[in-house]
Symmetry: C2
Subunit: 247 residues, 2 copies
DNA sequence: ACCTGAACACCGTTCAAGT
DNA sequence: ACCTGAACACCGTTCAAGT
């Protein structure tokens, strides 16, 4: 009744309420993901998450080993979705490595676009081992990556190089794309406004006068070609890997 | 005398102490950068920063408009260093655009390697305008980028494409490189250990048995070729841009 | 077995009050 | 003009106590 963050699922659901799933690690993580999708990462606290579940914050500690463990669980759950898509949509083992990397790239991009507020978490949290590279930070996914490329002719050396450049490519393009999507969704978190003149479009109160090129190109810069650029860069990367393998 | 984070500059420096710079936004930001370099981003709180400066936390609010504004100031200060290097080391206006992008790429990489704990901040904070792309998120730097490339023959359309692919490239490669460097420096922040068997190298307690390729390649994966890979990917990107401009 | 009340240490932030 | 004490609302987390 104080913050505006709760109001979604108001009633803590009295004992007789029908569809109340019992508390579990799964349910907690799913609820947290949904919560971050709607309110942004900084809004996620143990106490608010408890309220969302109709329970006190302390109850969560039975299923989740502290806040850091919760974030870890969220990230694991997200990348596990990749594996699910792999099994369900893509049972065909006969496709080439290029088609596989195309599929994988689009699957990760789908994740980033569906959960722009969570992608920075996937991108910046230290993975379980230092040689795991976000966003391809799950052992199962990486094993699958290696297996697929090796069975299509990559040497050990090449597949490691491919893993490195592919993860860097995904991270750079998708983190920037997610950031733009997340900017609208994720709430202010802005430096306290100190009573400046209230321009409606506060975002554009930059003085571009000293930067003529930027000023002239602002419109072009604002155009969204994320999809086409991603495809183009992906193709170029695949060509690069192809030169690898044949040289 | 409780946490182990203070002990660096123990004496709050009595009034007679010699070199005590007066409090200012500059000093606060510099101290914060140094603090994060040593203790990691999550350790930075207004109260601890105050202590580091020999002052109560509330005093900081005279110079800094809240914590978010402090982080903003840190990021601005960091990217401003790029401009400094540009003016000091690189007065030669006759170099080609490729040499300029080489210089810029290495300057940003230098930032990432000197401040691995701060680079994620530069990478993931929403910039002042949605069309600014980290890590090239300063208007002065972007204007310089545009000016240099345009005066070397880039069209408006090409320079915008170049800005997009160049920033994605820097972000992907450098965020991953900084993450590895930061993993050692930045303190635990790990999910509370629940009394598992205490392996000395807790990092390697992953069970790699189900992932034979990963297991076999672990050593190769752990090798550090960040420098060479960065140079290679940079060259490939420059070639790609070259094809742009001449086609 | 599962949840909670009360407590603790620590946050960011405000503001009247001190010098 | 500059700093601080005290206070407020909010955190994460623990643990004995309730059912």
């Amino acid at each position: 009744m104080s913050s505006d963050v709760e109001a979604d699922r108001g009633e803590p659901a009295g004992p007789g309420a029908s569809g109340r799933r019992p508390l579990s690690r799964e349910l907690i993580i799913e609820t947290a993901i949904d919560f971050v999708d709607r309110h942004g990462l900084t809004a996620l606290t143990m106490r608010r998450l408890g309220k969302q579940l109709g329970v006190e914050a302390m109850s969560l500690y039975r299923y989740v080993n502290g806040r850091e463990d919760l974030l870890e669980g969220i990230v694991d759950r997200m990348v596990a979705e990749l594996q699910l898509h792999r099994d369900h949509e893509n049972p065909d083992a006969t496709i080439g490595w290029q088609a596989y990397l195309q599929w994988l790239a689009h699957a990760v991009r789908g994740l980033a676009r569906e959960h722009p507020n969570l992608f920075p978490l996937i991108a910046t949290r230290h993975p379980a081992a230092p040689w795991l590279r976000p966003p391809l930070r799950s052992l199962r996914v990486v094993e699958d990556f290696f297996d697929t490329l090796i069975s299509r002719g990559f040497s050990d050396t090449r597949v490691v190089l491919a893993y490195r450049s592919f993860s860097s490519f995904l991270l750079g393009y998708l983190l920037l794309e997610a950031s733009v999507l997340g900017a609208r969704s994720s709430p202010p978190e802005e430096p306290l406004d100190e009573g400046d003149s209230h321009v409606p479009n506060a975002d554009q109160n930059l003085d571009l006068a000293p930067f003529p090129h930027v000023r002239r190109l602002e419109e072009q810069l604002s155009e969204d070609h994320a999809g086409a650029e991603f495809e183009q860069a992906l193709e170029d990367l695949l060509d690069r890997l192809d030169r690898f393998i044949t040289e």
